[in-house]
Point group: D2
Chain length 136, copies 4
Amino acid sequence: MATKQEIASFIAREFPQTRVQVLEAGHMSATVAHEIGVTELRPGGTVSGPVMMATADVALYVAILGEIGIVPLTVTTSLSFNFMRKPSADRRILGVCRLMKLGRTLAVGEVALYSEGLPDMVAHAVGTYAIPPVKS
Amino acid sequence: MATKQEIASFIAREFPQTRVQVLEAGHMSATVAHEIGVTELRPGGTVSGPVMMATADVALYVAILGEIGIVPLTVTTSLSFNFMRKPSADRRILGVCRLMKLGRTLAVGEVALYSEGLPDMVAHAVGTYAIPPVKS
Amino acid sequence: MATKQEIASFIAREFPQTRVQVLEAGHMSATVAHEIGVTELRPGGTVSGPVMMATADVALYVAILGEIGIVPLTVTTSLSFNFMRKPSADRRILGVCRLMKLGRTLAVGEVALYSEGLPDMVAHAVGTYAIPPVKS
Amino acid sequence: MATKQEIASFIAREFPQTRVQVLEAGHMSATVAHEIGVTELRPGGTVSGPVMMATADVALYVAILGEIGIVPLTVTTSLSFNFMRKPSADRRILGVCRLMKLGRTLAVGEVALYSEGLPDMVAHAVGTYAIPPVKS
Protein backbone atom coordinates (compact mmCIF):
# COMPACT_ATOMS: atom_id res chain seq x y z
CA MET A 1 0.00 0.00 0.00
CA ALA A 2 1.05 3.57 -0.60
CA THR A 3 -0.15 6.65 1.27
CA LYS A 4 -1.80 9.62 -0.39
CA GLN A 5 1.45 11.60 0.07
CA GLU A 6 3.61 8.89 -1.51
CA ILE A 7 1.27 8.65 -4.49
CA ALA A 8 1.07 12.44 -4.91
CA SER A 9 4.90 12.67 -4.88
CA PHE A 10 5.19 9.85 -7.40
CA ILE A 11 2.64 11.45 -9.74
CA ALA A 12 4.31 14.88 -9.47
CA ARG A 13 7.75 13.41 -10.18
CA GLU A 14 6.81 11.07 -13.00
CA PHE A 15 4.22 13.30 -14.69
CA PRO A 16 5.66 16.78 -14.07
CA GLN A 17 3.25 18.43 -16.50
CA THR A 18 0.09 16.92 -15.12
CA ARG A 19 -2.60 19.29 -13.88
CA VAL A 20 -4.18 16.59 -11.74
CA GLN A 21 -3.87 16.65 -7.96
CA VAL A 22 -4.39 13.73 -5.60
CA LEU A 23 -6.99 14.59 -2.93
CA GLU A 24 -7.65 11.19 -1.38
CA ALA A 25 -6.45 7.62 -1.76
CA GLY A 26 -7.10 4.40 0.08
CA HIS A 27 -9.84 1.90 0.96
CA MET A 28 -10.25 0.84 -2.69
CA SER A 29 -10.98 4.42 -3.72
CA ALA A 30 -9.42 7.72 -4.73
CA THR A 31 -10.40 11.32 -5.43
CA VAL A 32 -8.41 13.56 -7.76
CA ALA A 33 -8.93 17.07 -9.16
CA HIS A 34 -7.95 18.48 -12.56
CA GLU A 35 -7.24 22.22 -12.75
CA ILE A 36 -9.21 24.02 -15.45
CA GLY A 37 -7.74 26.91 -17.40
CA VAL A 38 -7.64 28.15 -20.95
CA THR A 39 -5.90 25.03 -22.24
CA GLU A 40 -8.58 22.73 -20.81
CA LEU A 41 -11.54 24.48 -22.41
CA ARG A 42 -13.13 23.97 -25.80
CA PRO A 43 -15.36 26.27 -27.80
CA GLY A 44 -18.71 26.92 -26.19
CA GLY A 45 -17.12 27.32 -22.76
CA THR A 46 -16.91 23.73 -21.64
CA VAL A 47 -14.19 21.35 -20.52
CA SER A 48 -12.67 19.24 -23.29
CA GLY A 49 -13.33 15.52 -23.37
CA PRO A 50 -9.65 14.55 -23.10
CA VAL A 51 -9.37 16.49 -19.82
CA MET A 52 -12.15 14.38 -18.34
CA MET A 53 -10.56 11.24 -19.76
CA ALA A 54 -7.18 12.11 -18.23
CA THR A 55 -8.85 12.77 -14.87
CA ALA A 56 -10.56 9.37 -14.89
CA ASP A 57 -7.37 7.60 -15.92
CA VAL A 58 -5.38 9.17 -13.07
CA ALA A 59 -8.16 8.53 -10.53
CA LEU A 60 -8.08 4.82 -11.35
CA TYR A 61 -4.28 4.73 -11.25
CA VAL A 62 -4.19 6.46 -7.85
CA ALA A 63 -6.82 4.12 -6.39
CA ILE A 64 -4.81 1.10 -7.53
CA LEU A 65 -1.47 2.45 -6.25
CA GLY A 66 -3.20 3.11 -2.92
CA GLU A 67 -3.76 -0.63 -2.65
CA ILE A 68 -0.73 -2.23 -4.30
CA GLY A 69 1.94 0.43 -3.64
CA ILE A 70 4.01 2.32 -6.21
CA VAL A 71 4.09 -0.05 -9.21
CA PRO A 72 4.93 2.17 -12.18
CA LEU A 73 4.38 -0.49 -14.84
CA THR A 74 0.69 -0.81 -14.09
CA VAL A 75 -1.00 0.16 -17.37
CA THR A 76 -4.50 0.93 -18.56
CA THR A 77 -5.92 -1.82 -20.77
CA SER A 78 -9.41 -0.43 -21.32
CA LEU A 79 -11.41 2.68 -20.52
CA SER A 80 -14.98 3.50 -21.44
CA PHE A 81 -16.77 6.79 -20.97
CA ASN A 82 -20.28 8.15 -21.01
CA PHE A 83 -20.50 11.93 -21.20
CA MET A 84 -23.74 13.06 -19.63
CA ARG A 85 -23.76 16.78 -18.90
CA LYS A 86 -21.80 19.85 -19.94
CA PRO A 87 -19.17 20.57 -17.28
CA SER A 88 -18.76 24.06 -15.86
CA ALA A 89 -15.95 26.08 -17.46
CA ASP A 90 -14.80 27.62 -14.18
CA ARG A 91 -14.68 24.71 -11.77
CA ARG A 92 -12.14 21.94 -11.36
CA ILE A 93 -13.10 18.49 -12.58
CA LEU A 94 -13.21 15.97 -9.74
CA GLY A 95 -12.75 12.26 -10.38
CA VAL A 96 -14.05 9.95 -7.68
CA CYS A 97 -12.91 6.37 -8.20
CA ARG A 98 -14.12 3.17 -6.59
CA LEU A 99 -12.35 -0.10 -7.35
CA MET A 100 -14.74 -2.98 -8.01
CA LYS A 101 -12.11 -5.68 -8.33
CA LEU A 102 -8.47 -5.86 -7.39
CA GLY A 103 -7.04 -9.16 -8.56
CA ARG A 104 -3.45 -10.28 -8.81
CA THR A 105 -3.13 -9.22 -12.45
CA LEU A 106 -6.18 -7.07 -13.19
CA ALA A 107 -8.00 -4.22 -11.48
CA VAL A 108 -11.42 -2.88 -12.47
CA GLY A 109 -12.88 0.38 -11.25
CA GLU A 110 -15.41 3.06 -12.00
CA VAL A 111 -14.99 6.82 -11.84
CA ALA A 112 -17.69 9.44 -11.35
CA LEU A 113 -16.67 12.84 -12.76
CA TYR A 114 -18.06 16.11 -11.40
CA SER A 115 -17.61 19.84 -11.76
CA GLU A 116 -16.37 20.64 -8.26
CA GLY A 117 -19.17 21.75 -5.96
CA LEU A 118 -22.00 20.77 -8.29
CA PRO A 119 -24.14 17.71 -7.54
CA ASP A 120 -24.73 16.18 -10.98
CA MET A 121 -22.26 13.72 -12.48
CA VAL A 122 -20.90 15.15 -15.74
CA ALA A 123 -19.40 11.89 -16.98
CA HIS A 124 -18.83 8.31 -15.89
CA ALA A 125 -15.96 5.98 -16.70
CA VAL A 126 -15.14 2.33 -16.20
CA GLY A 127 -11.59 1.11 -16.66
CA THR A 128 -9.32 -1.87 -16.32
CA TYR A 129 -5.64 -1.85 -15.45
CA ALA A 130 -3.14 -4.67 -15.90
CA ILE A 131 -0.89 -5.16 -12.88
CA PRO A 132 2.55 -6.58 -13.72
CA PRO A 133 3.41 -9.89 -12.08
CA VAL A 134 5.43 -9.67 -8.88
CA LYS A 135 9.00 -10.88 -9.39
CA SER A 136 10.29 -13.20 -6.71
CA MET B 1 -20.42 18.09 -46.36
CA ALA B 2 -17.16 19.85 -45.57
CA THR B 3 -13.84 19.40 -47.34
CA LYS B 4 -10.65 18.36 -45.62
CA GLN B 5 -9.41 21.97 -45.87
CA GLU B 6 -12.57 23.44 -44.34
CA ILE B 7 -12.40 20.99 -41.45
CA ALA B 8 -8.67 21.58 -40.88
CA SER B 9 -9.27 25.36 -40.76
CA PHE B 10 -12.18 24.94 -38.37
CA ILE B 11 -10.15 22.69 -36.03
CA ALA B 12 -7.15 25.06 -36.10
CA ARG B 13 -9.36 28.09 -35.35
CA GLU B 14 -11.53 26.55 -32.67
CA PHE B 15 -8.88 24.43 -30.96
CA PRO B 16 -5.75 26.60 -31.38
CA GLN B 17 -3.73 24.48 -28.95
CA THR B 18 -4.47 21.15 -30.50
CA ARG B 19 -1.53 19.09 -31.73
CA VAL B 20 -3.76 17.05 -34.03
CA GLN B 21 -3.62 17.53 -37.81
CA VAL B 22 -6.28 16.50 -40.31
CA LEU B 23 -4.79 14.25 -43.01
CA GLU B 24 -7.91 12.94 -44.73
CA ALA B 25 -11.67 13.34 -44.48
CA GLY B 26 -14.60 12.09 -46.46
CA HIS B 27 -16.42 8.93 -47.52
CA MET B 28 -17.51 8.14 -43.95
CA SER B 29 -13.89 8.15 -42.81
CA ALA B 30 -11.03 10.33 -41.60
CA THR B 31 -7.33 10.11 -40.78
CA VAL B 32 -5.67 12.43 -38.29
CA ALA B 33 -2.17 12.62 -36.76
CA HIS B 34 -1.12 13.74 -33.27
CA GLU B 35 2.36 15.22 -32.90
CA ILE B 36 4.45 13.56 -30.19
CA GLY B 37 6.90 15.54 -28.09
CA VAL B 38 7.96 15.74 -24.48
CA THR B 39 4.51 16.72 -23.27
CA GLU B 40 2.88 13.68 -24.88
CA LEU B 41 5.16 11.09 -23.30
CA ARG B 42 4.92 9.30 -20.01
CA PRO B 43 7.58 7.52 -17.97
CA GLY B 44 8.97 4.46 -19.68
CA GLY B 45 9.12 6.23 -23.02
CA THR B 46 5.63 5.73 -24.27
CA VAL B 47 2.75 7.93 -25.41
CA SER B 48 0.27 8.84 -22.67
CA GLY B 49 -3.23 7.39 -22.78
CA PRO B 50 -4.97 10.79 -22.97
CA VAL B 51 -3.01 11.61 -26.15
CA MET B 52 -4.42 8.52 -27.82
CA MET B 53 -7.88 9.33 -26.48
CA ALA B 54 -7.72 12.87 -27.85
CA THR B 55 -6.60 11.53 -31.23
CA ALA B 56 -9.54 9.14 -31.42
CA ASP B 57 -11.99 11.84 -30.36
CA VAL B 58 -10.77 14.23 -33.07
CA ALA B 59 -10.73 11.49 -35.73
CA LEU B 60 -14.40 10.75 -35.07
CA TYR B 61 -15.29 14.43 -35.05
CA VAL B 62 -13.50 15.03 -38.36
CA ALA B 63 -15.17 12.03 -40.01
CA ILE B 64 -18.59 13.31 -38.94
CA LEU B 65 -17.93 16.91 -40.04
CA GLY B 66 -16.81 15.50 -43.40
CA GLU B 67 -20.33 14.16 -43.84
CA ILE B 68 -22.60 16.71 -42.17
CA GLY B 69 -20.57 19.91 -42.62
CA ILE B 70 -19.25 22.22 -39.90
CA VAL B 71 -21.68 21.67 -37.02
CA PRO B 72 -19.81 22.84 -33.92
CA LEU B 73 -22.38 21.65 -31.40
CA THR B 74 -21.86 18.00 -32.27
CA VAL B 75 -20.67 16.41 -29.00
CA THR B 76 -19.21 13.10 -27.89
CA THR B 77 -21.67 11.03 -25.87
CA SER B 78 -19.58 7.89 -25.38
CA LEU B 79 -16.08 6.64 -26.11
CA SER B 80 -14.55 3.30 -25.27
CA PHE B 81 -10.94 2.26 -25.67
CA ASN B 82 -8.85 -0.87 -25.68
CA PHE B 83 -5.12 -0.27 -25.34
CA MET B 84 -3.27 -3.13 -26.96
CA ARG B 85 0.40 -2.33 -27.53
CA LYS B 86 2.94 0.20 -26.29
CA PRO B 87 3.16 3.04 -28.84
CA SER B 88 6.51 4.23 -30.10
CA ALA B 89 7.83 7.35 -28.32
CA ASP B 90 9.21 8.92 -31.50
CA ARG B 91 6.42 8.52 -34.04
CA ARG B 92 3.19 10.42 -34.46
CA ILE B 93 -0.03 8.70 -33.41
CA LEU B 94 -2.35 8.18 -36.37
CA GLY B 95 -6.09 7.81 -35.87
CA VAL B 96 -7.98 6.16 -38.71
CA CYS B 97 -11.74 6.50 -38.30
CA ARG B 98 -14.54 4.69 -40.10
CA LEU B 99 -18.14 5.70 -39.43
CA MET B 100 -20.47 2.73 -38.97
CA LYS B 101 -23.67 4.71 -38.67
CA LEU B 102 -24.60 8.25 -39.49
CA GLY B 103 -28.16 8.90 -38.44
CA ARG B 104 -30.02 12.17 -38.10
CA THR B 105 -29.20 12.54 -34.42
CA LEU B 106 -26.48 9.98 -33.68
CA ALA B 107 -23.24 8.89 -35.33
CA VAL B 108 -21.23 5.79 -34.40
CA GLY B 109 -17.69 5.12 -35.53
CA GLU B 110 -14.56 3.20 -34.75
CA VAL B 111 -10.97 4.41 -34.72
CA ALA B 112 -7.81 2.36 -35.18
CA LEU B 113 -4.76 4.01 -33.60
CA TYR B 114 -1.22 3.40 -34.86
CA SER B 115 2.31 4.63 -34.33
CA GLU B 116 2.93 6.16 -37.76
CA GLY B 117 4.69 3.76 -40.09
CA LEU B 118 4.26 0.68 -37.90
CA PRO B 119 1.77 -2.03 -38.85
CA ASP B 120 0.29 -3.07 -35.49
CA MET B 121 -2.68 -1.24 -34.03
CA VAL B 122 -1.70 0.26 -30.66
CA ALA B 123 -5.24 0.98 -29.51
CA HIS B 124 -8.82 0.82 -30.75
CA ALA B 125 -11.75 3.08 -29.93
CA VAL B 126 -15.48 3.12 -30.56
CA GLY B 127 -17.44 6.30 -30.04
CA THR B 128 -20.83 7.90 -30.43
CA TYR B 129 -21.56 11.54 -31.18
CA ALA B 130 -24.87 13.35 -30.77
CA ILE B 131 -25.74 15.57 -33.71
CA PRO B 132 -27.89 18.59 -32.84
CA PRO B 133 -31.26 18.79 -34.60
CA VAL B 134 -31.33 20.94 -37.72
CA LYS B 135 -33.28 24.14 -37.20
CA SER B 136 -35.71 25.02 -39.95
CA MET C 1 -44.14 6.81 -13.94
CA ALA C 2 -45.09 3.15 -13.69
CA THR C 3 -45.31 1.07 -10.54
CA LYS C 4 -43.35 -2.11 -9.98
CA GLN C 5 -46.55 -4.13 -10.59
CA GLU C 6 -47.31 -2.37 -13.88
CA ILE C 7 -43.78 -2.96 -15.11
CA ALA C 8 -43.76 -6.60 -14.01
CA SER C 9 -47.07 -7.18 -15.87
CA PHE C 10 -45.75 -5.46 -18.97
CA ILE C 11 -42.53 -7.51 -18.96
CA ALA C 12 -44.44 -10.78 -18.41
CA ARG C 13 -46.88 -10.00 -21.24
CA GLU C 14 -44.39 -8.71 -23.79
CA PHE C 15 -41.53 -11.11 -23.01
CA PRO C 16 -43.43 -14.28 -22.05
CA GLN C 17 -40.28 -16.43 -22.15
CA THR C 18 -38.14 -14.23 -19.99
CA ARG C 19 -36.73 -15.74 -16.83
CA VAL C 20 -36.20 -12.31 -15.28
CA GLN C 21 -38.41 -11.09 -12.42
CA VAL C 22 -38.89 -7.49 -11.32
CA LEU C 23 -38.11 -7.12 -7.60
CA GLU C 24 -37.99 -3.34 -7.22
CA ALA C 25 -38.48 -0.26 -9.38
CA GLY C 26 -38.52 3.46 -8.72
CA HIS C 27 -36.39 6.34 -7.51
CA MET C 28 -34.07 6.12 -10.53
CA SER C 29 -33.29 2.50 -9.71
CA ALA C 30 -34.43 -1.10 -10.15
CA THR C 31 -33.59 -4.60 -8.95
CA VAL C 32 -34.32 -7.68 -11.03
CA ALA C 33 -33.51 -11.40 -10.65
CA HIS C 34 -32.75 -13.98 -13.33
CA GLU C 35 -33.64 -17.60 -12.54
CA ILE C 36 -30.75 -20.02 -13.03
CA GLY C 37 -31.31 -23.55 -14.31
CA VAL C 38 -29.70 -25.96 -16.71
CA THR C 39 -30.21 -23.67 -19.70
CA GLU C 40 -28.42 -20.76 -18.01
CA LEU C 41 -25.25 -22.64 -17.15
CA ARG C 42 -22.10 -23.20 -19.15
CA PRO C 43 -19.41 -25.84 -18.79
CA GLY C 44 -17.45 -25.55 -15.59
CA GLY C 45 -20.59 -24.85 -13.58
CA THR C 46 -21.00 -21.15 -14.07
CA VAL C 47 -23.65 -18.82 -15.41
CA SER C 48 -23.31 -17.96 -19.10
CA GLY C 49 -22.33 -14.46 -20.11
CA PRO C 50 -25.51 -13.81 -22.13
CA VAL C 51 -27.63 -14.52 -19.01
CA MET C 52 -25.81 -11.76 -17.16
CA MET C 53 -26.12 -9.47 -20.17
CA ALA C 54 -29.87 -10.08 -20.40
CA THR C 55 -30.24 -9.38 -16.67
CA ALA C 56 -28.43 -6.05 -16.99
CA ASP C 57 -30.46 -5.07 -20.05
CA VAL C 58 -33.77 -5.75 -18.28
CA ALA C 59 -32.63 -3.98 -15.09
CA LEU C 60 -31.90 -0.82 -17.06
CA TYR C 61 -35.19 -1.09 -18.95
CA VAL C 62 -37.17 -1.51 -15.72
CA ALA C 63 -35.44 1.44 -14.04
CA ILE C 64 -36.29 3.66 -17.01
CA LEU C 65 -39.92 2.51 -17.25
CA GLY C 66 -40.21 3.23 -13.52
CA GLU C 67 -39.49 6.87 -14.33
CA ILE C 68 -41.09 7.48 -17.72
CA GLY C 69 -43.96 4.98 -17.65
CA ILE C 70 -44.60 2.10 -20.07
CA VAL C 71 -42.90 3.27 -23.29
CA PRO C 72 -42.32 0.10 -25.32
CA LEU C 73 -40.23 1.72 -28.05
CA THR C 74 -37.43 2.61 -25.68
CA VAL C 75 -34.40 0.74 -27.04
CA THR C 76 -30.87 -0.05 -25.92
CA THR C 77 -28.27 1.89 -27.87
CA SER C 78 -25.13 0.75 -26.04
CA LEU C 79 -24.15 -1.67 -23.32
CA SER C 80 -20.71 -2.40 -21.93
CA PHE C 81 -19.75 -5.13 -19.50
CA ASN C 82 -16.87 -6.07 -17.27
CA PHE C 83 -16.96 -9.63 -15.99
CA MET C 84 -15.11 -9.82 -12.71
CA ARG C 85 -15.83 -13.04 -10.83
CA LYS C 86 -17.29 -16.45 -11.57
CA PRO C 87 -20.97 -16.45 -10.59
CA SER C 88 -22.38 -19.25 -8.46
CA ALA C 89 -24.18 -21.98 -10.45
CA ASP C 90 -26.98 -22.38 -7.92
CA ARG C 91 -28.02 -18.84 -7.10
CA ARG C 92 -30.13 -16.37 -9.04
CA ILE C 93 -28.34 -13.48 -10.72
CA LEU C 94 -29.45 -10.14 -9.30
CA GLY C 95 -29.15 -6.96 -11.33
CA VAL C 96 -29.18 -3.73 -9.34
CA CYS C 97 -29.55 -0.68 -11.59
CA ARG C 98 -29.01 2.97 -10.81
CA LEU C 99 -29.81 5.59 -13.43
CA MET C 100 -27.15 8.28 -13.74
CA LYS C 101 -28.96 10.42 -16.28
CA LEU C 102 -32.53 10.56 -17.46
CA GLY C 103 -32.83 13.10 -20.24
CA ARG C 104 -35.65 13.69 -22.67
CA THR C 105 -34.16 11.41 -25.33
CA LEU C 106 -31.38 9.46 -23.61
CA ALA C 107 -31.00 7.57 -20.35
CA VAL C 108 -27.70 6.31 -18.91
CA GLY C 109 -27.42 3.84 -16.07
CA GLU C 110 -25.15 1.32 -14.44
CA VAL C 111 -25.95 -2.17 -13.23
CA ALA C 112 -24.16 -4.17 -10.55
CA LEU C 113 -24.64 -7.93 -11.00
CA TYR C 114 -24.47 -10.36 -8.07
CA SER C 115 -25.04 -14.01 -7.31
CA GLU C 116 -27.98 -13.66 -4.90
CA GLY C 117 -26.87 -13.61 -1.29
CA LEU C 118 -23.16 -13.22 -2.00
CA PRO C 119 -21.41 -9.90 -1.39
CA ASP C 120 -18.99 -9.62 -4.32
CA MET C 121 -20.10 -8.11 -7.61
CA VAL C 122 -19.73 -10.71 -10.38
CA ALA C 123 -20.06 -8.25 -13.26
CA HIS C 124 -20.75 -4.58 -13.93
CA ALA C 125 -22.56 -2.98 -16.85
CA VAL C 126 -23.15 0.52 -18.14
CA GLY C 127 -25.82 1.15 -20.73
CA THR C 128 -27.64 3.82 -22.67
CA TYR C 129 -31.23 3.74 -23.84
CA ALA C 130 -32.86 5.97 -26.46
CA ILE C 131 -36.26 7.25 -25.42
CA PRO C 132 -38.63 7.96 -28.32
CA PRO C 133 -39.89 11.55 -28.61
CA VAL C 134 -43.25 12.24 -27.05
CA LYS C 135 -45.95 12.84 -29.65
CA SER C 136 -48.18 15.79 -28.96
CA MET D 1 -4.76 -24.11 -33.65
CA ALA D 2 -8.11 -25.80 -34.09
CA THR D 3 -10.00 -26.33 -37.32
CA LYS D 4 -13.50 -25.07 -37.97
CA GLN D 5 -14.80 -28.65 -37.54
CA GLU D 6 -13.03 -29.17 -34.22
CA ILE D 7 -14.40 -25.90 -32.90
CA ALA D 8 -17.92 -26.62 -34.15
CA SER D 9 -17.85 -30.05 -32.44
CA PHE D 10 -16.56 -28.52 -29.22
CA ILE D 11 -19.26 -25.84 -29.21
CA ALA D 12 -22.02 -28.36 -29.97
CA ARG D 13 -20.82 -30.70 -27.21
CA GLU D 14 -20.20 -28.12 -24.52
CA PHE D 15 -23.14 -25.82 -25.28
CA PRO D 16 -25.79 -28.30 -26.46
CA GLN D 17 -28.56 -25.70 -26.31
CA THR D 18 -26.80 -23.05 -28.31
CA ARG D 19 -28.45 -21.86 -31.48
CA VAL D 20 -25.18 -20.53 -32.85
CA GLN D 21 -23.41 -22.29 -35.73
CA VAL D 22 -19.75 -21.94 -36.70
CA LEU D 23 -19.43 -20.95 -40.36
CA GLU D 24 -15.76 -20.00 -40.58
CA ALA D 25 -12.71 -19.91 -38.32
CA GLY D 26 -9.07 -19.14 -38.80
CA HIS D 27 -6.67 -16.37 -39.81
CA MET D 28 -7.49 -14.27 -36.72
CA SER D 29 -11.17 -14.26 -37.66
CA ALA D 30 -14.44 -16.15 -37.43
CA THR D 31 -17.98 -16.04 -38.74
CA VAL D 32 -20.92 -17.51 -36.84
CA ALA D 33 -24.71 -17.50 -37.35
CA HIS D 34 -27.50 -17.44 -34.76
CA GLU D 35 -30.81 -19.04 -35.74
CA ILE D 36 -33.81 -16.76 -35.25
CA GLY D 37 -37.19 -18.12 -34.17
CA VAL D 38 -39.97 -17.17 -31.79
CA THR D 39 -37.73 -17.31 -28.74
CA GLU D 40 -35.21 -14.87 -30.23
CA LEU D 41 -37.71 -12.14 -31.06
CA ARG D 42 -39.01 -9.29 -28.98
CA PRO D 43 -42.17 -7.21 -29.35
CA GLY D 44 -42.16 -5.09 -32.46
CA GLY D 45 -40.73 -7.93 -34.56
CA THR D 46 -37.05 -7.52 -33.91
CA VAL D 47 -34.24 -9.68 -32.58
CA SER D 48 -33.63 -9.33 -28.85
CA GLY D 49 -30.44 -7.67 -27.64
CA PRO D 50 -29.20 -10.73 -25.71
CA VAL D 51 -29.32 -12.80 -28.93
CA MET D 52 -26.95 -10.34 -30.60
CA MET D 53 -24.77 -10.29 -27.49
CA ALA D 54 -24.57 -14.09 -27.43
CA THR D 55 -23.67 -14.13 -31.13
CA ALA D 56 -20.81 -11.67 -30.59
CA ASP D 57 -19.53 -13.57 -27.57
CA VAL D 58 -19.42 -16.87 -29.49
CA ALA D 59 -17.83 -15.23 -32.55
CA LEU D 60 -14.97 -13.94 -30.42
CA TYR D 61 -14.58 -17.28 -28.66
CA VAL D 62 -14.46 -19.16 -31.98
CA ALA D 63 -11.89 -16.77 -33.46
CA ILE D 64 -9.65 -17.24 -30.42
CA LEU D 65 -10.00 -21.04 -30.38
CA GLY D 66 -9.10 -21.03 -34.08
CA GLU D 67 -5.73 -19.57 -33.09
CA ILE D 68 -4.90 -21.13 -29.74
CA GLY D 69 -6.73 -24.48 -30.03
CA ILE D 70 -9.47 -25.82 -27.75
CA VAL D 71 -8.80 -24.07 -24.43
CA PRO D 72 -12.09 -24.28 -22.52
CA LEU D 73 -11.07 -22.01 -19.64
CA THR D 74 -10.73 -18.99 -21.86
CA VAL D 75 -13.26 -16.49 -20.47
CA THR D 76 -14.75 -13.17 -21.50
CA THR D 77 -13.50 -10.29 -19.38
CA SER D 78 -15.22 -7.41 -21.14
CA LEU D 79 -17.71 -6.84 -23.95
CA SER D 80 -19.11 -3.59 -25.23
CA PHE D 81 -21.89 -3.12 -27.74
CA ASN D 82 -23.34 -0.42 -29.92
CA PHE D 83 -26.76 -1.22 -31.34
CA MET D 84 -27.22 0.70 -34.56
CA ARG D 85 -30.13 -0.61 -36.61
CA LYS D 86 -33.18 -2.79 -36.05
CA PRO D 87 -32.35 -6.34 -37.17
CA SER D 88 -34.70 -8.23 -39.47
CA ALA D 89 -37.03 -10.65 -37.67
CA ASP D 90 -36.74 -13.36 -40.31
CA ARG D 91 -33.02 -13.59 -41.03
CA ARG D 92 -30.24 -15.20 -39.05
CA ILE D 93 -27.87 -12.91 -37.19
CA LEU D 94 -24.31 -13.21 -38.49
CA GLY D 95 -21.34 -12.33 -36.32
CA VAL D 96 -18.11 -11.58 -38.16
CA CYS D 97 -15.15 -11.37 -35.80
CA ARG D 98 -11.66 -10.04 -36.40
CA LEU D 99 -9.03 -10.37 -33.69
CA MET D 100 -6.99 -7.22 -33.17
CA LYS D 101 -4.60 -8.64 -30.61
CA LEU D 102 -3.73 -12.14 -29.54
CA GLY D 103 -1.29 -12.00 -26.68
CA ARG D 104 -0.20 -14.74 -24.33
CA THR D 105 -2.82 -13.88 -21.72
CA LEU D 106 -5.28 -11.53 -23.42
CA ALA D 107 -7.09 -11.42 -26.75
CA VAL D 108 -8.98 -8.41 -28.11
CA GLY D 109 -11.36 -8.53 -31.05
CA GLU D 110 -14.23 -6.78 -32.70
CA VAL D 111 -17.44 -8.26 -34.10
CA ALA D 112 -19.68 -6.83 -36.79
CA LEU D 113 -23.27 -8.12 -36.53
CA TYR D 114 -25.56 -8.34 -39.55
CA SER D 115 -28.99 -9.65 -40.51
CA GLU D 116 -27.91 -12.34 -42.99
CA GLY D 117 -27.98 -11.08 -46.56
CA LEU D 118 -28.42 -7.41 -45.68
CA PRO D 119 -25.52 -4.96 -46.09
CA ASP D 120 -25.88 -2.68 -43.06
CA MET D 121 -24.29 -3.58 -39.75
CA VAL D 122 -27.01 -3.90 -37.08
CA ALA D 123 -24.64 -3.83 -34.13
CA HIS D 124 -20.94 -3.75 -33.33
CA ALA D 125 -19.09 -5.29 -30.40
CA VAL D 126 -15.59 -5.18 -28.97
CA GLY D 127 -14.49 -7.76 -26.45
CA THR D 128 -11.56 -9.04 -24.47
CA TYR D 129 -10.89 -12.62 -23.43
CA ALA D 130 -8.48 -13.82 -20.78
CA ILE D 131 -6.43 -16.84 -21.88
CA PRO D 132 -5.35 -19.11 -19.04
CA PRO D 133 -1.59 -19.58 -18.63
CA VAL D 134 -0.14 -22.66 -20.31
CA LYS D 135 0.92 -25.29 -17.79
CA SER D 136 4.30 -26.84 -18.45
